[in-house]
Symmetry: C2
Subunit: 207 residues, 2 copies
DNA sequence: CCCGATTATTAGCCTTACCTAATTTACTGA
DNA sequence: TCAGTAAATTAGGTAAGGCTAATAATCGGG
């Protein structure tokens, strides 16, 4: 469910994309699509991918809520680094109950976003709309705030080391079409030139 | 592994006892014994039960360590009650990495016993020897400190409600052979008469 | 010392969640 | 439009971890 949401949002997720996200073989995904449809969590048509039903979306958002709350806890209270946190949270989210999730939210002070800057769905399944866009789509001169960063570990490490973390305010100096390099200046006057892959992994909101 | 340890310590655990502890059918246990033996975690002889090898014991103690650290966290930081905590910890302990365990121990200040009063094995697998005994084996006039209480939920609730928790100092007033009732007085001068089942579930150490 | 009760094992089956290999469908560009 | 390729599905298999029913071993009392 979570993989479908992450891969396709409310649209239809392809077998291949889901298989890649989960690192499993495509036939296993087809199989799962059929079963999820029987359970009423997914709308599925052969050769056309699967999309979430209302119930399916709720289920996915509950999982994502768990995941992000757990990540927040691991990062803020157990001293995990960004590169370690994802894997641990992935395993934990399948083992914890709703009761645990609620108490953890309480413990953390009901945060509405995780340390990546991703919004944490509310217990009722509602999710703040996301108006952020990748830095690669910014325009020169714009002032933006980092809202989240991609979750690839080495990307995360690099950005973290350079202070490019959610909440940071940036001025966009140049967006060069030729090679996709985006140059930004941070609050300390430090300037960063980010290649296309990095610029695409830094999500921002206009200020 | 954990079930074998809990049921038999370093002795041999019977198929039946383990099956009961895990609420599964005996044949499943026989099956598992065979596989654990192939893995070198258990010494097993048909019709004679299984006992842990050195590696098996280490493995079991690592799990118990996890379990007790998780329980401690749930009770002390997430506001779980004794009756809820066991089930949640049981599921979590299988999802958590050694890294998590270490950081959680750190977060909790490296406690050496859980809130039940059970010792928490050290990371290297060593476990403090347990010199406690059930209240039913105390003698009148003895002063004892509660070291742990049985983990049956309703027992736990009753004892908790009456302030009979680990750490509490008690004076043994009477141990009546006739019906097994043990009468104790707590630090506040409050007197408690505990029937055989309760007296057997309260473990104490001489002061 | 042996017989019946208790405990354990074997045999055979099920479901879940994966896999690979072979086949089918859909898509795209000449 | 149609052929080649990419994606998806079907077919059939494996291992883990359960189950029940039937059989076998052990043990304790008369």
């Amino acid at each position: 469910m979570k993989a479908i949401w992450e891969v396709a949002g409310s649209g239809a997720a392809s077998t291949k994309d889901v298989a890649e996200r989960l690192s499993i073989a495509p036939p296993s995904v087809t199989n799962m699509f059929v079963r999820l449809q029987e359970m009423g969590l997914v709308e599925y048509e052969r050769y056309r991918g699967a999309s979430l039903t209302r119930r399916g979306r709720e289920e996915a958002l509950r999982l994502i809520r768990r995941h992000r709350l757990i990540e927040t806890f691991l990062l803020e209270h157990l001293g995990y680094s960004w590169r370690e946190v994802h894997e641990e949270a992935e395993r934990l989210e399948h083992a914890v109950s709703d009761g645990f999730t609620g108490r953890l939210a309480e413990f953390l002070g009901h945060p509405d976003q995780d340390p990546h800057g991703d919004p944490i769905p509310a217990a009722d399944g509602s999710l703040a709309p996301d108006d952020s866009f990748p830095l690669s789509e910014a325009t020169a001169g714009q002032r933006v705030r980092i809202s989240k960063v991609g979750d690839d570990p080495s990307t995360l490490d690099y950005l973290g080391d350079h202070g490019l973390v959610p909440g940071r305010l940036l001025s966009v100096r140049e967006v060069r079409d030729l090679d996709g390099v985006v140059t930004v200046e941070d609050e300390d006057g430090e300037s960063h030139a980010l290649g296309a892959p990095l610029a695409g992994a830094v999500f921002v909101r206009g200020e």
